[in-house]
Symmetry: C2
Subunit: 363 residues, 2 copies
Amino acid sequence: MAHAATAPRRYVILTDGHLLDRRAKTAHGVIQYGRDEIAAVIDPQFAGRDVADALPRLGRSAPIVASVREALAFRPTSLLVGVANQGGFIPAPFRPHILDAIDARLEIVSGLHELLNDDAQFVERAKRSGSRLWDVRVPPDGIPLFSGAAYRVPQVVALAVGSDCAVGKKSVMIELERAARAAGDHAEFVATGQTGVLIAGKGIVVDRVISDFITGAAEQLVLAVAPDADFALVEGQGSIYHPAYAPVTLGLLFGCAPDMLVLCVDASREAIEEYGVPLPALPEMICAHEALLAPVKPARVVAIAVNTWGLEDERARAVLAGAQQQTGLPADDVVRHGGATIWRALRNAARSTAKRQANAAAR
Amino acid sequence: MAHAATAPRRYVILTDGHLLDRRAKTAHGVIQYGRDEIAAVIDPQFAGRDVADALPRLGRSAPIVASVREALAFRPTSLLVGVANQGGFIPAPFRPHILDAIDARLEIVSGLHELLNDDAQFVERAKRSGSRLWDVRVPPDGIPLFSGAAYRVPQVVALAVGSDCAVGKKSVMIELERAARAAGDHAEFVATGQTGVLIAGKGIVVDRVISDFITGAAEQLVLAVAPDADFALVEGQGSIYHPAYAPVTLGLLFGCAPDMLVLCVDASREAIEEYGVPLPALPEMICAHEALLAPVKPARVVAIAVNTWGLEDERARAVLAGAQQQTGLPADDVVRHGGATIWRALRNAARSTAKRQANAAAR
């Protein structure tokens, strides 16, 4: 299945004119958080410079070149289409680069709606060169129904849940993975959305899976975690309060069989605005998630991840203190302050789970 | 979209040798509950007899014939593949009948896994004759995301929820539709599963819809209810306690925006057996469903439909009395006793909803 571990990629990332703008957020995400190596970036406007110089906040160095031909000197394995535009189509100026990369037998990776595998020219040329076309949005074939095997994985499974879409669930789990590494622990980020899959280099975009199989897809994801990892940190999707996407959220809640939850909220939002659904207070949100899981496989919320983006430092601290006081749980903004505090909360909570005790006893 | 109302069908139902056995349950369901007319049944073994004589419990009369050619005398519009076998493949002996029906320009309707539209011979012959191939399991193209329009449909929307799969949610809503008709009311059964869709002649098999769009599919279904109906009676799927299928259940709970719920349980089950999930007591089940809907669009459980299949009459009465006492709500077995009692409960509950008052005021 497509989510199985593969050899690490060495990406050449195609941004062609958009390196600095928001449209290149796919490229930015993979440069900042990606597990794979970055061989080079293709953007003629910046050719000769380095990513560390053009985009210092992303914290990674890679040469910027003008063409696939130049990028080949840096031994890439794959070309990543690094932009996400409105409509999700493949920008026309990208086509010659993609064709060059196919002819050079690079794997082509895209998270766009318009699929590489629906493009007759790409498919035909890839067939000729033997290059693989990976449309990240498309779930693998043959996802089985949920079997219950997820209840028996050795890892402690932590799932991000949230008050709404786009509150930072993905970033929280990635920052926790980093904090775990910094603490000498082995936790694996498990991707469930397209940007997450590009960052991790594997995963399933679960909202594209047929409804009957979404719990099965989530289960396959936790079954595929590295056997030597102690923790699976599963990227959440949507919210149980979201009128349109709650079924996807529940698919992860039941399918990945979490041992604990991290509740992610955005300090600036009080409602799911498109639908006018007011959000409950934090303690109510905690109860609702725990109540939903209780009959099937109980799990507790063990920490609150608050997105305080845009707030002054002092105001952010007050918001975090308030969340902590309201819930009696550790609360932090892991993007602002790093994931150490919340990572400690997860580790402490894991000590008291039966699973972690069994793991420790087995060593 | 495929779920839009169409002219009533006149079915010839193909059971070819299986009329009396369990494999013909699709045929039995459509004969007993279907809205469409039954022109004839094809089963050479019983040719010359009538369905009312061969299967009196289904309560419908139709001639049994030996071939499509003979069935044509009864002016059918459509041929229904009337069996559901393990594996869901099209039985080889059915193929010549299906081809005859295609050549006779009948619509072919099948709820099997093996799709008519994946069969090159059927597709080619249907193209030639102009006959339509309807694979009931396949959702229509172009299902939109959930928009919130379901909150504003004029009908009172009642949704069946249940403790588990296969507790009788479909039969409950069909019996309630009958009880409504008997009481001079206009309620419309809304099908969400394959047998339901065959019975209603329209609907969407929601568990086959891509997860992101399941709430949108549920919404489209309530938007498509006849404008002059006062009630939409939506067939439920799965259970919020089912580890594999709960996301489908939640898709209906949020997507069809019910004004009230009918809780369906099976008197003989205390757990979701495949997964060892013990079922909560009735009052807890009621609370859990109401709590899940409260933040988005509140709705109450207004009646308990208990499946007492296999119990002695006296024991069944005791079970129903117990359910009523435990919950303070009307409880009945609508298959055993008819839907009148629960239908009255729905009508009474509707009087106190804002929607029904608005409808009444508008007249």
